[in-house]
Structures are given as structure tokens and as C-alpha cells.
């Protein structure tokens, strides 16, 4: 699995000025993602995962450190990085087909070719037959699959996802996890997933990077040595349970700290 690094994140730090003073959201984070590798970043709420997502995706600037795609330093958004957002991000005024064909339309691909390509990715996410539907006619899970297909249609070198299934119910989330696993294995798609879901991270990833609570830095890197192609039934194996327990051990400490700090903050705000 380990090829040359496609994505390199080196000593990235990001500070925000807030009413309470400077806040370090991301603190000296370094890692790389190899060609075809699936890496997850997991951490408690408020650890700076989404800040890191925005920095790598080029939506957030003014940070310290370096982000590079294939040795080339990047500033701002990059054609090699395709982003899937946590919030529902389909265009409600476009049909499923037109949503997925959007990046191809921007590239000036002829209508017949782009529709054919879009249909291919729609089928890949399991939405064949829904091409003429509008997002309002679809469930939340289906809309997220449309967003995923739209990003895949741009054929990015790196797929960057920020908790794409966070708003969905557990069963839908597990099923979509299987779908992502299937797609990643068939496309050999280099993927970086930001998540707070343990089973999702272990099931999908080759490596899991655990982030600490504020200031968010990488606490631990766990290599998931589960067989490929990975079957969804792997969740029932001892090895899977072991990895989940191992990561939860690190995460529990950070999540508890985050919870305590949030409670203290709420109490302090109440006293003001």
C-alpha cells in the first residue's frame, strides 16, 4: 500500500484571535499520505479536525507550516484535492445528474460525455435510476452520496472528506461506510478522512491518526493491519475490536478533557 507520499503536511499550526485571546486550534501537525492509502484523522470535538480539513483543502490560509501535493507546496485550493463536506452540499436547483456532472461542466466536457461520466459515478455510489431526481426528493444519505459522486467525478488525486456521514443515523452511516470502502478499493483512491467515529476510522483506514483535544496535535499514529480487500464483516473480528479499543484508550482521555473544559467554560460564561 505504501507508495510515494502524495500529500505532505509538515509542522502545520493555526492560531485564531478570539475575545479570550489567541487560540491554537492546530499545533505542529505533521503526516503524509501515500498513493492509494486511506488515512483517517480522529479526535474529539473541538480538537481542530475541521480546521485541518480546511487548511489542507485550501479554504483556510494564514497558517504556519507547509502542505504539499506531490512535492509541490500549495496555497489555496488545488485541482488535485477533491473535498466532501460534513454539511449537506448538493445544489438543490440541479438534478442528481447535473450535480455530479458539475465539475465536468466546469472543465468544458461535452454534454454527452459528461453525462456518461456522471452516470458512471452515480452508479458507483449506488444511485442509478435517480439521475433525474432533485436533492429535495432524496434522503440525507442519498444526498451525501451525490456529493461524494460529484467530487469523484472531478477525479481528484486526493479525496478529502470531513465527517461526510456525521449527520446520518448509525445504520445508514455503516452502510455508507461499506460503500466508501468498496469505492476506495476499486479506484485505489488516495483518501484522507476526518472523523470522530471509531469503527468508521478502523474499518476504512490503513492508518489512523489520533488528535489530542485543544491545542490539536497528533497524539498517536496507528497502522491498521487488517487484510485487503477489506470485507465489511471484518468488524466482527478480534483484531478489529482490538484496534477500536486501542484507539479509544487514547481518545477517551482527550474526549474527557474536552468535555471538562467545555463544562468549565459554560460555567464561567454563566457566572459572567
Amino acid at each position: 500500500m505504501a507508495g510515494p507520499p502524495v500529500l505532505e503536511v509538515e509542522h502545520v499550526s493555526k492560531r485564531f484571535d478570539t475575545a479570550e485571546g489567541a487560540l491554537t486550534a492546530v499545533d505542529d501537525v505533521s503526516f503524509s499520505v501515500a498513493e492509494g492509502e486511506f488515512v483517517s484523522i480522529i479526535g474529539p470535538s473541538g480538537c481542530g479536525k475541521s480546521t485541518l480539513f480546511n487548511i489542507i483543502g485550501g479554504l483556510l490560509g494564514d497558517y504556519d507550516g507547509r502542505v504539499a501535493v506531490g512535492q509541490e507546496n500549495i496555497a489555496g485550493t488545488h485541482a488535485s484535492i477533491g473535498m466532501v463536506f460534513q454539511e449537506e452540499s448538493t445544489f438543490p436547483w440541479r438534478t442528481v445528474l447535473d450535480n455530479v456532472a458539475f465539475p465536468l461542466e466546469l472543465k468544458g466536457v461535452a454534454a454527452s460525455t459528461r453525462n456518461e461520466r456522471a452516470r458512471h459515478f452515480i452508479a458507483m455510489v449506488g444511485l442509478a435510476g435517480f439521475e433525474r431526481r432533485y436533492p429535495a426528493e432524496l434522503s440525507g444519505g442519498m444526498r451525501q452520496r451525490v456529493a461524494l459522486a460529484r467530487t469523484l467525478a472531478s477525479e481528484p488525486r486526493i479525496l478529502l472528506m470531513d465527517e461526510p456521514f456525521a449527520a446520518l443515523d448509525e445504520q445508514t452511516r455503516l452502510l455508507l461506510g461499506d460503500k466508501v470502502l468498496q469505492i476506495q478499493q476499486s479506484l485505489k483512491q488516495t483518501t484522507l478522512l476526518i472523523t470522530h467515529n471509531l469503527t468508521e476510522a478502523v474499518l476504512l483506514s490503513d492508518r489512523v491518526l489520533v488528535m489530542s483535544y485543544r491545542p490539536g496535535h497528533l497524539k498517536r499514529k496507528v497502522t491498521i493491519d487488517l487484510p485487503h480487500p477489506r470485507d465489511p464483516d471484518v468488524v466482527a473480528s478480534d483484531a478489529f475490536t482490538h484496534y477500536v479499543a486501542e484507539i479509544w484508550h487514547d481518545l477517551r482521555e482527550e474526549a474527557s478533557r474536552g468535555m471538562r473544559e467545555q463544562e468549565t467554560r459554560v460555567l464561567a460564561e454563566g457566572k459572567r
Binding site: 485550501g58 484535492i81 454539511e87 452540499s89 436547483w93 432533485y134 436533492p135
Partner: protein
């Protein structure tokens, strides 16, 4: 989107609307005949119906109808061409927005029709005066609602555009404008109502142009059935423009 069920519900809504109007007309007729409403203030609906052929033949209603409709059309075009870009300007330039938004809102409540002498001085006793007053009266809601739609565009949609590296024009034409379109059309419909009231009002006041002038003349002659008949044609223009706008909106954004 155009399922038989949907069509059925549209047809039922149209039938219910027409039925309600018919019921009100019948009630008014009955109340007037019973003496509950003074027939020298409100004529019998049946008399208004009888007056239609007369005002069409003798008062040249169709020509006046087209004249007013044309003025409304020009005012609507101006509202779209000027109002929407002004909203975009306010959206893009926060400082100007903060400095002027309250003034624009105040403009919506201003009785612009009372400024007709000023417009007469600038544009003369011409259709341009009428169109410009209609335009000025309808401008505020178009700007405010379009601005509201642009500001309400979800951040994540703009981020999708940024992630696909859209140019500023693509970001506007492919994301901002389609996202804001429902609100823009609400503004245009409100602007149309404001413009229409003022257009007919000014035609009435300066005794010039289409249906407003006709209403003035018929009222002066105390031809009440004719006056109400002419008012019906004003309502007809409003209905036609509303239907046209709804069609245009559905064509531009079928999922609306």
C-alpha cells in the same frame, strides 16, 4: 416533478381560487340587492359584467390595457436590470451595505407617488415619467429580497465552488444566483406590485396613459360599473405578470 398528483393539486387549487372569487361576487350582488351595501358606492357585479362590452368598444380598453401593460413591463425590466446588480453590489461591499441598507428599507415605505411633480419636471408628461415612478417605487423590495437571498446562500455551497476553483463569475452565476433565485423572485413580485400600484396611480393623477387615466375619466363621469370594469383590467395585468414570473422562475429553477 410534474406527476399527475401534482397537476391534480394545481388544478384543484385553481378551481378553489376561481370558486372563491365567484362566491364573493355572488355574495356582493346579494348584499347590494338586499340593500346592505349602497349601490351608489358599489355597483352590482352584474352591472359591471354588462359594462364590459361597452367599455371595450367605446373606451378603447384594449389599447389602454396594452399601454399600462407595456409600462409595467418596462418598469419590471428596469427593476431586474438595476435592482439585482445593486443587490449584488451591496452583497459584495459590506461597508456600502451597512451604510445604506436602512435607507433602502426606508425607501420601501416612502410614498414615491407623491413625488410625481418632480418626475414630471424631469421627464415631462410622458410614459417615461410613469415608468420611472413605477421603477422607483418597486426598487427597494427587489434590492432587499435579492440581498437577503444572496446573504442566505449557505457557506458550504460557496466552499464547494471554491474547492472546484470557480472563477468569481462562475461562483456568482453557478452558485450564488441560483441559490438566491427564490428570494430574488419574491423581490421581483413585490416590486411588481409596488410598481403597478404607482403606475396606475400616476396615470390617474396626471390623467395620462392607459387604464389609470381611463379610471379617472370614468370616475369623473360617475360611471361606476365602467370604473370597476376598468379596475378589473388592472387586476388582469397583475395576474398575467405574476403568472409570467412564476413560469420564468420555474424555467430558471425547475426544482423551486
Amino acid at each position: 416533478m410534474t406527476s399527475p398528483r401534482w397537476r391534480q393539486s394545481r388544478a384543484a387549487a385553481a378551481a378553489l381560487g376561481a370558486g372563491t372569487v365567484l362566491l364573493i361576487v355572488v355574495c356582493v350582488e346579494a348584499l347590494i340587492r338586499a340593500g346592505a351595501i349602497n349601490r351608489f358606492v358599489v355597483p352590482l357585479p352584474s352591472e359591471i359584467l354588462v359594462a364590459f362590452p361597452r367599455i371595450i368598444a367605446e373606451e378603447n380598453v384594449l389599447h389602454r390595457f396594452l399601454q399600462t401593460a407595456q409600462e409595467v413591463l418596462w418598469a419590471s425590466v428596469l427593476l431586474a436590470v438595476v435592482g439585482i446588480p445593486l443587490a449584488v453590489l451591496l452583497y459584495r461591499m459590506r461597508l456600502i451595505r451597512l451604510a445604506t441598507e436602512t435607507w433602502v428599507a426606508a425607501l420601501a415605505a416612502a410614498p414615491i407617488v407623491l413625488m410625481y411633480p418632480l418626475f414630471l419636471v424631469i421627464f415631462g408628461r410622458t410614459a417615461t415619467t410613469i415608468v420611472m415612478i413605477g421603477f422607483a417605487a418597486g426598487l427597494a423590495p427587489v434590492i432587499l429580497k435579492s440581498l437577503e437571498g444572496l446573504l442566505a446562500t449557505r457557506e458550504v455551497l460557496l466552499n464547494v465552488g471554491r474547492s472546484f476553483r470557480l472563477t468569481p463569475w462562475q461562483q456568482f452565476s453557478k452558485i450564488l444566483l441560483p441559490a438566491a433565485l427564490p428570494s430574488v423572485f419574491i423581490g421581483l413580485k413585490l416590486g411588481l406590485v409596488f410598481a403597478m400600484i404607482n403606475i396606475v396611480g400616476v396615470e390617474f393623477l396626471i390623467n395620462f396613459g392607459g387604464l389609470g387615466q381611463l379610471i379617472n375619466e370614468l370616475a369623473e363621469r360617475y360611471d361606476l360599473p365602467g370604473t370597476y370594469g376598468a379596475i378589473f383590467f388592472v387586476v388582469l395585468i397583475s395576474v398575467l405578470f405574476f403568472v409570467a414570473m412564476e413560469r420564468l422562475e420555474r424555467w430558471l429553477r425547475p426544482a423551486s
